[in-house]
């Protein structure tokens, strides 16, 4: 069992458990960041360097920032531990345990540890780029459209309808940043 794997998996599992057990959302967010960076490290360990960095940029850098951003914006309070919550935790824990115990052995016998002579392919940027833009050009484009659509949707959803009456929008030119005479801002 390679040392790196042990450390990383311990880190990941600990941070994952942290995400779900911390009662303060911000704490769990940060745990998730740690987890994501951990995953990036795993990618790096598996020679998928480009993915590692992209993982950091996309997940840690963009998504989690957004999440923390929203958490801050809505300043959600810590959740108190309720009985039904505990029951559900135990219940889902048990079911999760079943899943692992069932699929685990299957995985192990499906992909036995085997010695490999030829060096595994390296997930360098060039190699990935070559494959991405030749075989997978179509999915790549659709991913692009998908993200675009998501952005438009997000913008629409989050935008308050017609803006807040007593805070006219700067971009509409109605508010040049100076405080109105009425005093209310």
């Amino acid at each position: 069992m390679p040392l790196v794997f042990v450390i990383l998996s311990a880190l990941l599992i600990a941070s994952a458990v942290g995400v779900i057990l911390f009662r303060n959302p911000i704490h769990s967010a940060l745990c998730l960041v740690v987890n994501l960076v951990g995953v990036a490290c795993v990618f790096a360990a598996l020679e998928a360097h480009f993915l590692a960095v992209v993982q950091v940029i996309v997940y840690a850098g963009a998504i989690m920032v957004l999440v923390v951003f929203v958490l801050m914006l809505l300043n959600s309070k810590t959740e108190e531990r309720t009985l039904s919550g505990v029951i559900q935790l135990v219940l889902s824990g048990i079911i999760g345990g079943c899943l692992v115990s069932v699929v685990g052995p299957f995985i192990i016998e499906q992909w036995p540890i085997v010695a490999r002579e030829e060096p595994p392919i390296s997930g360098s940027v060039e190699a990935l780029g070559k494959v991405l833009y030749t075989d997978y050009i179509f999915p790549f484009e659709t991913a692009g459209f998908l993200v675009m659509a998501a952005l438009v949707a997000a913008a629409m959803l989050a935008k308050t309808k017609g803006g807040d009456p007593n805070h006219p929008r700067i971009s509409e030119g109605k508010n040049d940043g100076t405080i109105q005479a009425g005093g209310e801002q």
Partner: protein, 102 residues
């Protein structure tokens, strides 16, 4: 002579996936649930990369790349919804949003 430990990584991804699911089920707060979702996606990514390395071609990694794209899109929309939810119900507790119930 290096050994191929893909099975362990897939096992790791399975564990992470289970933790993610349990988290999704347990946590009431919508954003935390969303985070658990991200956890699950990452677990999948690990499995992808590990197995693509074992198989020998880059398809797995490409898949991870697309998973990330989708995750990003989903994050954007998800959080927009959470904000809209907050604006209407003054709460992010998913358990409070029960209007759809009969």
């Amino acid at each position: 002579m290096n050994y191929d430990y893909s099975a362990y990584y897939v096992l790791l991804s399975l564990v992470l996936f289970t933790i993610g699911t349990v988290g999704f089920i347990v946590r009431k707060n919508a954003i935390v649930a969303f985070m658990c979702l991200e956890l699950m996606l990452n677990a999948a990514n690990i499995a992808f990369v590990a197995l693509s390395r074992r198989v020998g071609n880059l398809d797995g990694e490409i898949a991870v790349f697309f998973v990330m794209a989708v995750a990003a899109a989903e994050a954007a929309v998800g959080l927009a919804i959470v904000i809209a939810l907050f604006r209407n119900l003054e709460t992010t507790e998913s358990s409070d949003a029960m209007e759809l119930r009969l």
